[in-house]
């Protein structure tokens, strides 16, 4: 699945705009599922797809957090009462917000709806990242956007890097006899994880600097990226989806 990087990112950007505009949980779910299948199909082409598993985990985590927040905190909504949580009375100046209390079907649905859109955006970004190595994306940027492209390169390289570091650190913690998935163990993972990612990002920036990246006016390409007919097909089919269902 060697396509022009801009074709993939353009495609994903269009879908993201569409999801935001249509404001429909069904479209959002369908699009995320389709992209997930696409990523799985193209898995042999690069190791970036591994980062998608990490994106999936983040998406699940986001879903859980958003859902539980939506159930506990919210504005009163009409609809059939599903169950009742113990309510905490807030001071009178916080009118319209409440903690706990009745959970209605309407409230649950609205929360789910918002969740689906949020998560599909995360998944679309993750899929774009998994389908196109950020390094080849950088090549398509014009020289004037040097600072932007460097930032994007370093930032996008961090995601797969994070995924690899995460599993390594988790493994190491097993070696120290720590139990899994408690909140304190999350805190313990995050510090070395952050340190390592920053260090790696700096290493990469140093290596690029030492090889003269960004100093010359004219940049040439060893393997010029070609916009092929398949890329046009890909982008226009995404456009077609958006136009038809707008």
């Amino acid at each position: 699945m060697k396509r022009h990087p801009l074709a993939w990112w353009g495609c994903c950007a269009l879908l993201a705009i569409f999801v935001l505009h249509s404001d429909s949980a069904i479209y959002a779910t369908v699009i995320s599922l389709a992209l997930a299948v696409l990523v799985l199909l193209s898995r042999e082409s690069s190791y970036w797809y591994r980062s998608f598993a990490f994106t999936l985990r983040i998406a699940v985590l986001l879903f859980l957090i958003r859902m539980s927040l939506g159930i506990v905190i919210g504005v009163p909504m009409p609809g059939r009462t599903l169950f009742r949580l113990p309510e905490i009375h807030l001071p009178s100046w916080l009118v319209g917000i409440r903690l706990g209390g009745e959970v209605t079907s309407q409230r649950l649905l609205t929360t789910f709806h918002e969740c689906a859109i949020l998560i599909s955006l995360v998944l679309i970004f993750g899929a774009a990242n998994a389908l196109v190595s950020p390094r080849s994306l950088m090549k398509t940027f014009p020289r004037a956007l040097y600072n932007v492209s460097t930032t994007i390169l370093v930032a996008t390289s961090t995601l797969p890097q994070l995924a690899r570091s995460f599993s390594r650190i988790k493994r190491a913690q097993r070696l120290r006899g720590q139990s899994h998935s408690t909140i304190t163990s999350w805190r313990k993972v995050s510090v070395p994880l952050l340190e390592e990612s920053l260090e790696r990002a700096l290493d990469l920036a140093t290596a690029m600097e030492a090889r003269g990246y960004g100093y010359m006016k004219n940049v040439s390409h060893y393997r010029p990226l070609m916009w092929r007919i398949h890329d046009s097909i890909l982008l226009s089919s995404a456009l077609a989806v958006v136009v038809v269902f707008w």
């Binding site: 390094r135 080849s136 090889r211 010359m216 060893y222």
Partner: protein, 542 residues
């Protein structure tokens, strides 16, 4: 080519002078080896040459540094990239592209070289470093030595006059290291390239170096001819120490030279035998029975059977990618085993968790950093006491018994490599494991730290009745000098299969590539270490 005039360097928030009034001239086509203890400023010196220090790292620099007539004061590293190429400590962190060919072309692209010229240059570099067959491979699928070659190629593609190498062989097995250094040596002689190289494992590089620059702890530095510098330096490879023990006046820098100069002296040794204290071996604590494992549908271990007993130190050797780490991970249940049986103290490690696991196996991964995640040494020790359910202060006491303590408020990342390894060891030992596993422990350790490690490991294996002792110790390493000093037995792994196993002496003296320097120098006599020779000679005198 490179001139330092009265250069001093201090990093911000630090009181130590890294370099103090350094003045050196390096001529074109020279190969200078930089030596010094860990953290003495070898990397800083290397990065000063192309301006990464202080432009990228910060720091206060005085004095003047010129490379090919250009001052680094006003020029940024990128502006010097056409005269200076640099290969960092871990090349894998600095790769910008996914494919070998693209990685090598990156510098040319950034400099806007015309596509036709670019193709020619890339082709030349691929040939020069014998990378032609790997050109389409993904970089992450390459072995350590191959990656190192790609990094050197990427640095050379702009035709620089100076090449800087920061510990180029620390992650490589002896054969890959030799390959990389031979290529560097050829470049110096064929192209007149100026090379500055920092390296801990002197035994691998001294024969190639023209001059040696020694950086002392206080920031002062001396430069001189390799033989004279090593004769007086506290840091010296086994070959130099052997020459001293044999009472040679002139230090030999290569095995060939030493053999030519010591024909008579060696005769004296033929009548002597190395004295070996017999290991006090207990029962088997780690056994593999016909184990096979696959990773990503590739077979990484095939029908491996072995046993490690308490009280013995066993070394696992083999080339990069032979499956050493995978085999070690069996002991903590991290390897997906497809066939066979693994037992640690009579239990399958995959079923063990938490305290049950760590009280049987202590495992130090390749990066001891992975085990450390607290904000200070004191926190780290306290955490280990809690994890292991032992009395407060136990871990700290173990640390104290292993080495001189660093300041307790220091962040683990700011410790030296040796101290970090010591801290990780203390944490692991606090659980009183019966099996201790070390994966490539000498990466980045200087000779002094290595001696310390050898002493610690030896004393852990010894049986003196205390609970802490009489461990079985299993070490994966491609540092042959370490293996010669430390182990009772060697298991040699190739492509996931056990190729040979036996006593250290039998295995190491029978393979020329994996033989320590002393063995090479004194063969066919079966000596392994300078210590043995010295003890035997002294015994004769008495």
């Amino acid at each position: 080519m490179i001139s330092f005039r009265n250069v001093s360097l201090i990093y911000p928030n630090s009181l130590r002078t890294v370099l103090d009034g350094l003045s050196i001239e390096v001529n074109e086509g020279e190969m200078v080896l930089v030596i010094g203890h860990t953290g003495s400023g070898k990397s800083s010196l290397i990065k000063l040459v192309n301006g990464l220090v202080p432009h990228h790292t910060g720091g206060i620099l005085s004095g003047e540094i010129e490379v090919a007539g250009r001052s680094t004061r006003s020029l940024k590293p990128g502006q010097l990239s056409d005269v200076v190429g640099i290969v960092g400590q871990s090349p894998a962190h600095g790769f910008v592209a996914d494919i070998v060919e693209d990685e090598i072309a990156f510098g040319l692209e950034a400099h806007g070289v015309a596509p036709e010229v670019m193709r020619k240059r890339v082709e030349e570099v691929l040939d020069l470093l014998s990378l032609t067959e790997l050109r389409d491979r993904s970089i992450s699928s390459l072995s350590g030595g191959e990656q190192q070659r790609v990094a050197i190629g990427a640095a050379l593609v702009l035709n620089p006059k100076v090449l800087l190498l920061d510990e180029p062989t620390s992650a490589l097995d002896p054969i890959a290291a030799e390959e990389v250094l031979a290529i560097v040596y050829r470049l110096v002689h064929d192209l007149g390239l100026t090379v500055i190289i920092a390296e801990h494992r002197l035994e691998r590089v001294i024969q190639f170096a023209d001059r040696v620059l020694l950086i002392n702890e206080d920031g002062s530095a001396e430069i001189g001819d390799t033989a004279t510098m090593l004769a007086s330096s506290p840091i010296a490879p086994p070959l130099v120490n052997l020459a001293k023990v044999l009472g040679q006046e002139k230090i030999s820098l290569s095995v060939r030279e030493l053999r030519r100069n010591t024909e008579e002296l060696r005769n004296v040794l033929t009548n002597l035998q190395p004295k070996i204290a017999p290991a006090n071996i207990g029962s088997a604590i780690f056994t593999l029975d016909n184990v096979s494992a696959t990773y990503d549908e590739k077979s990484v271990l095939t029908n491996v059977s072995l046993a490690i007993h308490s009280g013995e130190v066993v070394a696992l050797m083999g080339r990069n990618g032979a499956g050493k780490s995978t085999l070690l991970k069996c002991a903590v249940g991290l390897t997906p085993i497809t066939r066979g049986e693994v037992q640690v103290c009579g239990r399958d490690p995959r079923e063990l968790k938490g305290k049950d696991l760590i009280s049987r196996v202590g495992y130090i991964p390749q990066e001891p950093d992975d085990l450390l995640y607290n904000q200070s040494v004191a926190d780290e020790c306290r955490q280990a006491d809690l994890d292991n359910n032992v009395a407060a202060g136990t871990t700290l006491n173990i640390f104290k018994s292993l080495m001189t303590l660093p300041s307790l408020s220091v962040h683990p990342r700011d410790l030296s490599e040796g101290q970090r390894l010591g801290l990780a060891l203390s944490i692991v030992l606090a659980a009183q494991p019966q099996l201790l596993i070390l994966d490539e422990p000498t990466r980045g350790l200087d000779y002094e730290a290595k001696r310390e490690l050898i002493r610690i490991v030896r004393s852990l294996a010894r049986d003196d009745g205390s609970q802490q002792r009489h461990c079985g110790i299993f070490i994966a390493s491609h540092d042959v000098e370490l293996v010669a000093e430390i182990s009772d037995r060697v298991i040699f792994l190739a492509d996931g299969e056990i190729l040979s196993q036996g006593s250290t002496r039998d295995v190491l003296t029978s393979s020329p590539a994996f033989a320590p320097q002393v063995t090479k120098a004194l063969s066919p006599q079966p000596w392994l270490t300078v210590g043995e020779v010295e003890a035997a000679l002294e015994g004769r005198n008495v």
